[in-house]
């Protein structure tokens, strides 16, 4: 090994140590939701003893003890900080995490495999907050999430629009001229089709954009790159070869911030879901209430009711808080006109959108 290589390898190991520590801290914060008492001396001693029994000739047991004690102390300090646990779907670096970082600036961001894990986790109190996408400017509604909004009992307390800007990422060692295959979520690959064709790159579908970036960093396959967010470049130590490689005009995804309790203050935007009976003019009657009260609607979407095929639920976002008299009056009147109605929450609108 040349000195240069040794230095590079050492840097990589340092990085991996820190990433693992970060993962450990995340787990400690999650465990806080279960534990009755924060410190468990017996468990701590067991852990230290186990670690000392490892026969590592270069690492003295006194050093092991010192190191782990330091880590435990830092973990306790972090647990005392009382950070909000914000769950999102996808691997670290997913666009959901980009949204979560904007909505919850000092949070701890917890990746979940499925949307339902985010909803259930918040409902059951394992997470404080959830961040989920509701619609994309190119692809439309995220039906799974809209369905979960209908069936679970969480409140919307915030929103953010995240501009989806795809980056071509590769490991530092990869020469861009040798890249042949590009891994990413099929939707991201489709949004960058012209870019891939111009540069004669082969698409390789992967389950997740951030997952592709993570795989690249861990396995470093030959002649490969990934399409993912610029956050992934930071998290997985990848080089950004080109930013903004999507073909079309920039697209964006709107994310909602979910919690068990509604927003404590007056929001300036409200979301509801409702269903009306199958009679002429029912939907019109509801919308007329908003028109007459001069309330501006910002989104109307319909989705088949899973519990009642042939009927639809309507998603309505409008300007104003439910604490506003005009809005409250409309909502009250609506109850008589709808078969079913659910108030999702009033929250501060994303000013940039």
């Amino acid at each position: 090994m040349k000195p240069e290589e040794i230095r590079k390898k050492t840097n990589k190991i340092d990085r991996e140590l820190l990433v693992l520590l970060q993962e450990r801290m995340g787990l400690a914060l999650r465990s806080k939701k279960f534990k009755e008492t924060l410190s468990d001396p017996q468990q701590e001693n067991d852990m230290l003893a186990r670690a000392e029994r490892l026969n590592l000739d270069l690492i003295k047991s006194t050093f092991t003890r010192r190191l782990l004690k330091t880590i435990i102390e830092e973990t306790k300090r972090l647990q005392d900080e009382d950070r909000s646990l914000a769950a999102f779907q996808g691997e670290h670096g997913a666009y959901g995490e980009v949204a979560a970082r904007q909505l919850v600036p000092d949070g701890a961001y917890i990746p979940c495999l499925e949307f339902i894990d985010v909803f259930r986790g918040v409902e059951d109190g394992y997470f404080d907050l959830g961040v989920v996408p509701v619609e994309n400017s190119l692809e439309g509604a995220v039906t799974q999430v809209n369905d979960l909004l209908t069936t679970t009992d969480l409140k919307v307390i915030g929103e953010v629009k995240v501009a989806v800007s795809h980056c071509l990422l590769a490991t530092e060692a990869t020469d861009y001229r040798e890249i042949r295959q590009v891994f990413s979520h099929p939707q991201a690959l489709a949004q960058c089709r012209n870019f891939l064709m111009r540069n004669k790159l082969e698409s390789r579908p992967y389950y997740d954009t951030a997952g592709a970036a993570k795989m690249l960093a861990r396995e470093n396959p030959r002649a490969a790159a990934a399409i993912a967010s610029s956050l992934c470049a930071e998290l997985y130590d990848l080089e950004i070869i080109k930013e903004g490689i999507e073909d079309g005009p920039s697209n964006s995804t709107r994310f909602l911030l979910l919690a068990r309790e509604p927003h404590p203050d007056n929001g300036d935007k409200t979301s509801i879901i409702f269903a009306v009976s199958h009679e002429a003019g029912r939907l019109y009657a509801v919308l007329k209430l908003f028109a007459d009260a001069e309330i501006n609607l910002t989104r109307i979407a319909s989705m088949p009711l899973r519990s009642d095929p042939g009927n639809y639920s309507f998603f309505l976002d409008f300007e104003g808080s439910d604490k506003n008299e005009k809005v409250a009056a409309v909502l009250k009147e609506m109850k008589g006109l709808t078969k079913w109605m659910k108030y999702l929450g009033s929250y501060p609108a994303d000013k940039d959108s």
């Binding site: 861009y176 001229r177 111009r198 540069n199 950004i240 490689i245």
Partner: protein, 278 residues
């Protein structure tokens, strides 16, 4: 010049290459910037300065064909990213050189115009590659090349389906040693007779002397050139290459004022004008 099927004068009226709002072949277009991209600050400072002085596009090399293998070879893709940033800030389109056929599609992702340098004029595999890059090409004249050889190289690019070629006279080798090369200004009207392609001049590499740049630029305007490409560095004494031939932003601004005065003088002449200047 029998073999010129696509670039010959009689085949087409004057070609106008459009890049954003800039029309090469209609206006006198000024492309300015440093020899090579050295740092973000250097490019941004220079880009702001040349924009303020009235430049239409920004030049800067990320891949450098250098005479010596030990000279600074350029920042590569890192340099392209810096140029992209300067474009986002100033709105100036980017002209940058490509030296390797394998780099063409990548450079085309960042640059608005691909430059083929004098040493690569007859690099036919590179010419074919830029011929289907989808970007306009600035083709510099080989320092030992005749007009016919040069036009044949342009023919290569057009025959690959890319009509947007801009020719650039950058000086030819003669026995004169006071100047770095000899600016063949007669190439400007000669190309106008032979071809419909726009032609600009490079007063920097042709003279290699700061003191001669402004005069040669004035001469190019008078000769009917479609523009010029000139080296400007925010701190020439610190430049990593061609330090002794780059203009300072002040010198550049001063030259631009004189060029504007000359253009307006020529435009206001009651006599027949060639319609190329505004």
């Amino acid at each position: 010049m029998k073999n010129l099927k696509l670039v010959a004068r009689e085949t087409k009226k004057g070609t106008v290459v459009k890049v954003a709002d800039v029309e090469i072949g209609r206006d006198f277009v000024v492309i300015a910037g440093p020899c090579s991209v050295e740092s973000e600050k250097q490019i941004l400072d220079t880009a702001r300065a040349v924009k303020a002085a009235g430049a239409d596009m920004l030049r800067g090399g990320a891949f450098k064909p250098r005479t010596s293998p030990y000279s600074f070879q350029g920042l590569g893709i890192q340099g392209l990213k810096i140029l992209e940033k300067a474009k986002q800030e100033t709105g100036l389109p980017i002209v940058t050189e490509v030296v390797d056929p394998r780099d063409v599609s990548w450079v085309a992702e960042f640059a608005d115009i691909l430059q083929i340098g004098t040493r690569n004029m007859q690099n036919f595999s590179l010419l074919k590659e830029v011929g289907h890059s989808g970007r306009p090409v600035l083709l510099k004249r080989g320092m030992h090349s005749t007009l016919e050889e040069w036009l044949n190289c342009a023919e290569y690019i057009l025959s690959e389906g890319n009509p947007d070629v801009i020719l650039c006279e950058r000086g030819i080798r003669t026995f004169e040693t006071y100047t770095r090369n000899t600016l063949d200004l007669s190439a400007v009207p000669a190309i106008k007779e032979l071809s419909h392609l726009p032609i600009i001049i490079d007063p920097t590499h042709s003279t290699g002397r700061i003191s001669l740049i402004a005069s040669m630029s004035m001469a190019a305007v008078a000769a009917g050139a479609d523009g010029m490409i000139v080296e400007v560095h925010h701190k020439p004494q610190e430049a990593l290459c061609d330090a002794d031939q780059a203009l300072t932003p002040d010198m550049f601004a001063n030259m631009m004022t004189r060029l504007r005065a000359l253009k307006s003088f020529l435009n206001n002449q009651p006599l027949e004008s060639n319609g190329k200047m505004n």
